[in-house]
C-alpha cells in the first residue's frame, strides 16, 4: 500500500467511526408539564435508594416520594399521620401503639401490614444489612441495641405486631421527640419478598423496586437520573396529581441554573451562591426557606490556647457575621453564636427566641474581643501562636475561611494560617483532634432542639472538639426523659445557656435552604429538615 492511500484509509476509517458514533439516544428531552410531568435536577446521586440502609442526604428526595412511614410531614412541617391512622402513647411515655390505615398496599398491589413494619425494623437491626442509621433504633427502642450486638433475641426487642394493623414500639426512655425520629426514612417499610429475592440489588431495577409512597420507580439510570411515576396503590393516590417526576442528576449548579432559565428543567436544589443576589432581585422562582441547620467551626478544646473559654469567645466575637453572610456567602442566613437553629416551636414561641438574651452581635465586637484576649494573656495578640484554620475542598467554604482569616488578623492582631484537605482526610483529622479550628456544621435529623444539643455531650460520636462538661451532659440526659414538653424546653434552654457561655465551637449562622421551582408548579413542600415533598404538587399554567 502506498503512503497516500494509507493516509486516505486512515481518514476514511476515522470518518466512519465519527459517523457511526453519531447514533445514539434518539428521544428528545420531552418536557410537557401539562401532562403532569416535571423534571427536577439534583446536585448529586445518592449512595443508595434502600431506606433501611442509606443515611445520605442526597437520597432524601427519593425517600420522601417513594416511601412513607407511620408518620409524615405536612406543608407546615408538622408531623401528621402517614401509614398510621392514629396512635396512642402510654402514660409513662414509653409505649407507642400505632393503628395502621385499612387497606394499605405496596406499589405492586400486595397488602402491607404491621408485620412488614416489624420485618423492616429488624432488618435495620441486623448488622449484615449495613444500615447507616441503625442507631436511630438502637438508641431508643428497648432491647434493640442488644439484638444488634447479638446479645438478645427478637422477643426481647420492643417492636411487636399486635395484629395485622396494630404495631407497638416500646422505648427505653420516654422520649418526647420520638415521633420526629420515627419520621426518618430508616423507619420506612420495605417489602420482604422484594428484598429477599435480591437483597443487594432490589432497588436497582424498576421491576424489583417495591415501595409504598405516593410515587414508584419507573426507570433508574446510573449517573443520569431516576424517573418516578405516580403509585396508584398509595393509600391517598387520589390526592397525588403529578403523573411523573424526572429526577435528573446535574452535578454542576451553574449548568442546572442555565438549564432552568432555558426551560429545560422545572426546578433544582442548591442555587449557586453567586447568582442569588441577582435572582432575588428578579426571579419569582427562587425560594429561600428556613433550614434546621447551623454552620459552626469546631474548636479543639483540648489544645492550648483554645482550651481557654476566653480565647474561644474572643475569636467568636471578633468575626463580622453580617459581612460574611451578606458579602462573602451572598446567601441568606441568620447570624448567631448559639447552637440550635430556629424551627422548633413550643407554646407559640420559637425555641431560639431566647437567643437574644445571649447578647450576641451580628457585627464584630473588636474592643471586647481584644480585651478578652488580653485577659487570656495575649494583649494585642502578642504571644498568640499561629492559628491553623482548616477546611475541606469546597469553593464556598474557602471564601468564608479567607474572610475569617482576614477578620482575625485585623481585629485581634494574630496570625492565621489556612489549611485545606479533601473531605475524607479532613474529617479523620477532625475526629482525631488533629486540628485547631475547622469548618463543620449540622443539619438536624428531626425537628427538635435535641438533635443539636446532643452533639456536644462528652460521649457524643459527633463531638469532635474534646469539650466535656458534666453539667451540660446531665441537663441533656434530663431532657431526653422529660415527658412534659414545657419542662423539657426549660431544661434544654439551660443546656444551651452553658453552650453559649463556654462556646465549645464558633457558630457563624443558621442556614437556609435555597430552591428554584418554576412558578407553574404549586403545592410542593420543602421542610426545614430539607425534605422535599411532591405528593401534593400540581401544575397550573
Amino acid at each position: 500500500m502506498e503512503n497516500g492511500r494509507k493516509i486516505a484509509v486512515l481518514l476514511i476509517v476515522t470518518a466512519a467511526v465519527f459517523a457511526v458514533s453519531c447514533g445514539g439516544e434518539k428521544a428528545p428531552d420531552v418536557k410537557a408539564p401539562e401532562q403532569g410531568k416535571i423534571t427536577f435536577a439534583l446536585q448529586s446521586e445518592p449512595d443508595g435508594y434502600d431506606p433501611g440502609i442509606t443515611n445520605n442526604s442526597f437520597a432524601s428526595p427519593f425517600m420522601n416520594q417513594l416511601f412513607e412511614g407511620l408518620v409524615t410531614y405536612d406543608a407546615n412541617g408538622e408531623i401528621v399521620p402517614g401509614n398510621a391512622e392514629s396512635w396512642t402513647i402510654s402514660p409513662d411515655g414509653k409505649v407507642y401503639t400505632f393503628k395502621l390505615r385499612a387497606g394499605l398496599k405496596w406499589s405492586n398491589g400486595k397488602t402491607l401490614n404491621a408485620h412488614d413494619y416489624v420485618y423492616s425494623m429488624f432488618r435495620v437491626l441486623t448488622p449484615a444489612t449495613g444500615a447507616r442509621y441503625a442507631d436511630m433504633l438502637t438508641v431508643y427502642i428497648v432491647g434493640a441495641d442488644d439484638y444488634y450486638n447479638g446479645k438478645a433475641g427478637k422477643e426481647k426487642v420492643g417492636i411487636k405486631a399486635i395484629n395485622d394493623n396494630t404495631l407497638e414500639i416500646t422505648l427505653i426512655e420516654p422520649t418526647p421527640y420520638y415521633l420526629g425520629i420515627l419520621g426518618m426514612w430508616v423507619y420506612a417499610p420495605v417489602n420482604k419478598e422484594a428484598v429477599e429475592a435480591s437483597p443487594e440489588r432490589w432497588t436497582m431495577d424498576p421491576a424489583s423496586f417495591v415501595s409504598n409512597g405516593p410515587f414508584k420507580v419507573a426507570s433508574i439510570k446510573l449517573g443520569e437520573g431516576v424517573v418516578l411515576q405516580k403509585n396508584d396503590n398509595y393509600w391517598n393516590a387520589g390526592a397525588v396529581r403529578l403523573a411523573e417526576i424526572n429526577f435528573r442528576f446535574i452535578l454542576e449548579p451553574a449548568t442546572a441554573l442555565s438549564a432552568f432559565e432555558k426551560g429545560e428543567i422545572d426546578g433544582f436544589r442548591e442555587v449557586p451562591a453567586s447568582d442569588i443576589p441577582r435572582l432575588r432581585a428578579g426571579s419569582n422562582a427562587l425560594h429561600i426557606l428556613p433550614s434546621f441547620g447551623t454552620t459552626f467551626y469546631d474548636v479543639n478544646n483540648t489544645k492550648k490556647p483554645y482550651d481557654n473559654p476566653k480565647v474561644r469567645r474572643a475569636l467568636a466575637i471578633a468575626l463580622d457575621r453580617e459581612e460574611i453572610i451578606d458579602n462573602v456567602l451572598q446567601a441568606p442566613g441568620d447570624p448567631t453564636m448559639a447552637l440550635v437553629a430556629p424551627g422548633y416551636v413550643y407554646g407559640g414561641q420559637d425555641f431560639t427566641t431566647v437567643h437574644k438574651n445571649y447578647g450576641f452581635k451580628p457585627k464584630a465586637d473588636v474592643e471586647e474581643a481584644r480585651k478578652l484576649l488580653a485577659e487570656a494573656g495575649y494583649p494585642d495578640g502578642k504571644g498568640f501562636p499561629v492559628l491553623e484554620l482548616s477546611y475541606y475542598t469546597n469553593a464556598t467554604v474557602k471564601k468564608v475561611v479567607e474572610a475569617m482569616q482576614q477578620m482575625w488578623e485585623k481585629n485581634l492582631g494574630i496570625k492565621v494560617k489556612i489549611k485545606v484537605q479533601d473531605w475524607a482526610i479532613y474529617y479523620s483529622d477532625i475526629q482525631n483532634l488533629n486540628y485547631e479550628i475547622g469548618a463543620m456544621g449540622w443539619g438536624g435529623d428531626y425537628l427538635h432542639p435535641m438533635t443539636f444539643l446532643e452533639l456536644f455531650t462528652s460521649n457524643s460520636s459527633n463531638n469532635n472538639t474534646g469539650y466535656k462538661n458534666a453539667e451540660y451532659d446531665a441537663l441533656v440526659a434530663k431532657a431526653v426523659v422529660e415527658t412534659d414538653p414545657a419542662k423539657a424546653v426549660e431544661i434544654m434552654h439551660k443546656a444551651e445557656d452553658i453552650f453559649a457561655r463556654d462556646l465549645p465551637v464558633i457558630t457563624l449562622y443558621s442556614r437556609s435552604n435555597t430552591i428554584m421551582v418554576a412558578p407553574y408548579i404549586k403545592g410542593w413542600v420543602l421542610t426545614a429538615l430539607s425534605n422535599l415533598y411532591f405528593k401534593d404538587a400540581y401544575i397550573e399554567k
Partner: protein, 308 residues
C-alpha cells in the same frame, strides 16, 4: 511479527499488574476510608460495614481476593453506591464516554491535521500565525472555561444546543468541541513542527530537485514521515478521550464514566478506584500497542525480524 506481538502482550500484562499493585498500595495508604461520609457512623455500624465488605481481612488477602475477582473480570461491588458493581459503572458510563471520545478523536484529526499542514506550508505567513494563535489558546485555556463559554454563547444566548444531556443529537456538539480543544491544538502544533522539520531534510531537497511539484513533495514524501510523531501521541490521546473527562461530563451533565475517576477517589470507593484505573490502564496500554503496530506499517525505517 508474531513473536513481537506475543512479547508485547506479555509486557502489557506485567505493566497492568504493576498498575494494580501500585494503585492498591497507594489507595490504602491515603487516610480516610469508604465509610467516611457526611457524618460519623456509630461504631457498631462501622464495624458491621467493615465486616460486610471484608475490610478487616489482612491487606495481602484483600489483594489476592481482588486479583481472583479480576481474573474473572469481576471488579467487585462499589463500596459507596449500595447495590452497584464497578462493572456496572463501566458498562453504563463507558459507551457514552467512548462515543464522545471517538467523535473528539475524529474531529481532532479532521481539523488538526489540515490546520497543521496548512500552517507548516504557509510558514510565517498570516495563515500560520492565525492557526498557531488559535492553537496556543486551545492549549492554554482549561477545558472548563471553553465548555462554560461555549455553553453560555451557543446554548444559553443563542439557544442552538441544549444546555445539558445528549438526548438530542445536537447535544454532542458542544461537549465534543470542548473535549477536543486541547488535543486539537496539540496535534496541530505537532503536525506543523514535525512537517517543518521533515521539509528541511536532504531527501526532500532531492525530491524537489527532481522537479516534483510542491504538493507531490509534501503528500508523497514529507507527510508520511511527519505523521510519525503525531501517530505516537495519538495512542494516549485516544485512550484519554474515550475514557471520559470529569470536567466536560460534569458541566454538560453527561452520565459517562469520566466522573467516576474523580468521585471514586473522593469517596474512597476502593473497588471503584481500582476498577476504573485498571480499565483506563488497559485501554492506554492497548492503544500504545496498536500505535506501535501502526508504526511498522507507516515507517519504512522500522523493520521487525532478524534481518540484521
Amino acid at each position: 511479527m508474531l513473536e513481537y506481538v506475543l512479547k508485547r502482550v506479555a509486557t502489557m500484562f506485567v505493566t497492568l499488574f504493576a498498575v494494580v499493585l501500585l494503585t492498591f498500595i497507594l489507595m490504602h495508604s491515603v487516610p480516610g476510608g469508604p465509610f467516611t461520609a457526611e457524618r460519623k457512623l456509630p461504631e457498631q455500624v462501622e464495624r458491621a460495614l467493615i465486616q460486610k465488605y471484608k475490610l478487616d481481612d489482612p491487606l495481602y488477602k484483600q489483594f489476592f481476593d481482588y486479583l481472583k475477582g479480576l481474573a474473572r473480570l469481576d471488579l467487585g461491588p462499589s463500596f459507596k453506591y449500595e447495590g452497584r458493581t464497578v462493572n456496572e459503572f463501566i458498562r453504563e458510563g463507558f459507551p457514552l464516554s467512548a462515543r464522545l471520545g471517538l467523535l473528539s478523536v475524529g474531529f481532532t484529526l479532521l481539523t488538526a491535521l489540515p490546520l497543521g499542514i496548512l500552517s507548516a506550508v504557509k510558514n510565517g505567513k498570516w495563515q500560520d500565525i492565525l492557526v498557531m494563535f488559535i492553537a496556543t489558546l486551545g492549549i492554554t485555556i482549561p477545558s472548563f472555561v471553553i465548555a462554560t463559554a461555549l455553553m453560555y454563547v451557543f446554548s444559553f444566548r443563542l439557544g442552538w444546543f441544549p444546555v445539558f444531556g445528549v438526548k438530542k443529537l445536537n447535544g454532542y456538539v458542544l461537549p465534543v468541541i470542548a473535549l477536543s480543544g486541547y488535543s486539537l491544538s496539540f496535534v496541530a502544533r505537532l503536525m506543523r513542527s514535525s512537517l517543518l522539520e521533515v521539509m528541511g531534510q536532504d531527501y526532500i531537497r532531492t525530491a524537489r530537485s527532481k522537479g516534483l511539484s510542491e504538493s507531490a513533495v509534501i503528500i508523497k514524501h514529507a507527510l508520511r514521515n511527519a505523521l510519525i510523531p503525531v501517530v505516537t501521541i495519538l495512542g494516549p490521546t485516544i485512550a484519554g478521550l474515550i475514557t471520559g473527562s470529569f470536567v466536560i461530563e460534569k458541566i454538560f451533565a453527561l452520565p459517562g464514566m469520566g466522573v467516576h475517576f474523580v468521585t471514586s477517589i473522593a469517596n474512597r470507593d476502593y473497588t471503584a478506584i481500582m476498577g476504573i484505573t485498571i480499565f483506563y490502564a488497559t485501554i492506554l496500554v492497548a492503544m500504545v500497542f496498536l500505535v506501535d503496530i501502526f508504526y511498522v506499517m507507516i515507517d519504512p525505517r522500522i523493520k521487525l525480524g532478524r534481518e540484521s
